[in-house]
């Protein structure tokens, strides 16, 4: 038995040396990281995109020699499916904890992240939130929870200030707003923020409409829109519903002065742009976006597109979040959960292509994170604000 085991160990070592010639000698144990997303259910598209982003990051880290501080240890993903439901996400955390993961990355939707971070906190399991924009996620005093990207508070604030600026520069053509949002934490929270703050910027919020996930008929909502005739329509929802809403608006020939999204699921998506170029034209979005001038982002986009996938925010955000986590494990020099948590909290990670300021974690939130404003112009998604990243002049209001 002993001989057989030794033989297997030696074979494994030999095999890994052959397979990874960059890493000489014995291979240190792989570091297991939970990669948890809603890859089935209503959010399946986004969840699968997130998973792809995380796996590409792991592939890149392993190719470049693994976790250097741990003797080149490879990262091994333990995949989890939250099935688009918070309670399933929390159950997956239990499994991952049992399996001894060093950390968890996930879980796309705010409502799911709220459950998974809480479940992980019980085991002091460090949890990096890849998207999950609801600010409650990082406001509950959970020491294990870290979000590298911006939350919806910052996004809504930046969106409102910029809307005010765009409107003022154009001679204030827009006065009324209609908000359409999905019913879970992300959409409701964003809509509440906007409803409260927009009047301060001189906009009248004519109506706030909530819808379920999934919704397969937006005719009634669009008919209401027709009746109210708002100058600006602000959608805050996930991809499928966003796409259907804008397509129904097009079917029903509703053309507001601007479709101005805050974290719009499809508004700055190359998938939407390719499938419905006419419906997408002119849409403005305040959303996660990469630095368009960074070559690494451009290269990653090419690689993603070579796989016949779309380079959506799910992919590049989760990719960067995984890099942020790997950087912390490297600095922790250990897979100890407390050490990784401390390294995440003190992170100054800067080797990435997101348009962020210096990384500084305050209560688990990266205060350097910010969204960019994009607009679909001439069949492409262009950054319009801020000036440092600008690729095109904004078009506001839409000439239609």
């Amino acid at each position: 038995m002993k001989n057989r085991r030794t033989f297997i160990q030696h074979s494994a070592a030999a095999a890994s040396t052959l397979a990874f010639p960059l890493i000489g000698g014995a291979q240190p144990a792989a570091v297991k990281i939970g990669v948890l997303h809603p890859v089935t259910g209503a959010l399946a598209f986004s969840g699968q995109q997130c998973r792809e982003g995380a796996l590409m990051a792991i592939e890149d880290i392993n190719k470049a020699g693994g976790l250097k501080a741990l003797g080149g240890a490879r990262i091994e993903a333990m995949l989890g499916d939250a099935q688009s439901q918070p309670q399933v996400g929390a159950a997956e955390i239990e499994k991952m904890n049992e399996a001894g993961v060093a950390s968890v990355l996930g879980a796309f939707a705010s409502a799911i992240c709220l459950a998974t971070t809480q479940a992980a906190a019980k085991y002091n399991l460090p949890h990096v939130v890849d998207i999950g924009v609801a600010d409650q996620i990082v406001q509950r005093g959970l020491k294990n929870t870290f979000r590298f990207g911006p939350g919806y508070g910052v996004c809504a604030q930046i969106a409102m200030v910029n809307l005010h600026v765009l409107n003022s520069v154009a001679g204030k053509p827009a006065k009324t707003v209609m908000i359409i949002h999905e019913e879970s934490l992300f959409g409701t929270g964003t809509a509440n923020l906007l409803t409260r703050e927009l009047p301060g910027f001189g906009f009248e919020v004519k109506e706030v409409i909530k819808h379920a996930n999934p919704t397969r008929d937006f005719n009634n909502i669009v008919l209401r829109m027709k009746a109210l005739n708002p100058d600006i329509v602000i959608p805050a929802n996930y991809y499928n519903e966003y796409a259907l809403l804008v397509r129904t608006m097009q079917q029903q020939k509703v053309q507001p002065k601007a479709i101005y999204s805050v974290l719009g699921g499809a508004a700055s998506s190359f998938k939407f742009l390719k499938e419905f170029p006419d419906a997408a034209n002119g849409i403005i979005d305040c959303n996660h976006w990469f630095n368009p001038k960074d070559k690494r982002a451009v290269d990653l986009r090419k690689r993603v597109e070579a796989k016949n996938l779309f380079f959506t925010y799910e992919i590049f955000n989760t990719y960067t979040a995984m890099m942020f986590l790997a950087d912390a494990i490297n600095r922790a020099k250990s897979t100890d959960r407390a050490a990784i948590t401390a390294a995440l909290a003190g992170s100054s990670f800067s080797d990435h292509f997101m348009p962020y300021g210096p990384t500084k974690m305050v209560d688990g939130q990266n205060t350097g994170a910010q969204p960019l404003m994009t607009q679909v112009l001439g069949g492409d998604i262009k950054v319009i604000i801020p000036r440092d990243y600008r690729q095109a002049e904004p078009m506001f209001p839409l000439k239609s």
Binding site: T40, G41, A42, A44, Q83, S84, I209, K210, H211, A212, P214, T215, R216, D217, N219, N220, I221, L223, R224, K226, A227, R247, Q251, Q252, K253
Partner: protein, 290 residues
């Protein structure tokens, strides 16, 4: 808000949805009218039919409308076999048993679908999914318009079968007086199974009309079956014209309600009407006084 340009499209939208509701309710009311059983597996059967259309489209590339004959035949065969092999045998002639058997069937079907297809919401993409047809100030989605026409055609042929054919006469005879029908030489067991089969065949047709503009997941049937029960009671249990008009009425009320009260409150109107009918005209709009 009460502008014609807004109300009219919402009304048409409701009529098109209502026609499909009517189709689902017609199957339910036929099964009730003849077998006097409330088929709890109706929603789950619709779900299976939707998966059937989905598979034919995604695996074999069949257009959902071309799949109609096969789906109607397939669902008919399934219904006939279910009644003969499972429901009839397990019920031992007791109505309360049948209720439990159909409920059990629904649970089995839903969980089998969960196993086979997971909880994913799936939809199909056809070249006409996004097409619209202008009718006056309204823009109506083409699949919904086809569903409207198709549902009315299927309802028409169902009425023709029941009123004009020997099978229809036998069905009506069994529904009215089982013993008498038996004495006249009608094979009651066969008529039972035929009725159940035709009831499910309606679902096969409904699935073909629904899927181009709708979606399927293992729970999709429950939403329809609740509405269908409401329609059946509203129109009068066992009444075909009641189911048809009730379906259209419910579709319109739901749509206009959604327009005026918002999406989540839209269905309130349906149940208000339902309660009012139960209070004021318990036999239903077109039902015979018991």
């Amino acid at each position: 808000m009460l502008d014609f340009d807004i109300l009219f499209p919402s009304l048409l939208n409701g009529l098109t949805t209502g026609a499909v509701y009517a189709l689902v309710a017609l199957g339910l009311t036929l099964i009730y009218g003849v077998l006097h059983i409330i088929n709890f597996a109706h929603g789950a059967s619709l779900m299976l039919a939707l998966y059937g259309v989905y598979l034919l489209n995604t695996r074999l590339g069949w257009d959902p409308y071309l799949a109609l004959p096969l789906m109607v035949a397939g669902m008919f065969a399934m219904g006939y076999a279910l009644q003969r092999v499972v429901i009839n045998r397990a019920s031992h002639g007791k109505d309360e048993n049948i209720l439990l058997v159909t409920l059990g069937l629904a649970i089995v079907m839903e969980n089998l679908a969960l196993l086979a297809f997971s909880a994913d919401t799936r939809s199909i993409d056809t070249p006409y999914t996004l097409r619209t047809v202008p009718i006056g100030p309204a823009m109506i989605a083409l699949p919904k318009l086809i569903a409207f026409g198709g549902a009315l055609a299927v309802a028409g042929s169902l009425l023709w079968i029941v009123k004009r054919t020997d099978l229809g006469r036998a069905i009506r005879a069994v529904a009215k007086e089982k013993q008498g029908a038996k004495l006249m030489g009608i094979d009651v067991e066969h008529v039972y199974a035929m009725s159940f089969g035709i009831g499910l065949a309606c679902l096969g047709a409904a699935a073909c009309f629904l899927l181009p503009a709708y979606y399927v997941n293992p729970q999709v049937g429950s939403g329809f079956v609740l509405v269908a029960f409401t329609i059946v009671v509203l129109g009068g249990m066992g009444s075909f014209s009641g189911a048809l008009l009730g379906g259209l009425l419910i579709g319109v009320v739901e749509s206009i309600g959604g327009l005026l009260l918002g999406d989540s409150l839209g269905q309130v109107g349906i149940y208000l009407i339902f309660i009012a009918v139960l209070l004021l005209r318990p036999q239903g709009l077109f039902g015979d006084r018991a």
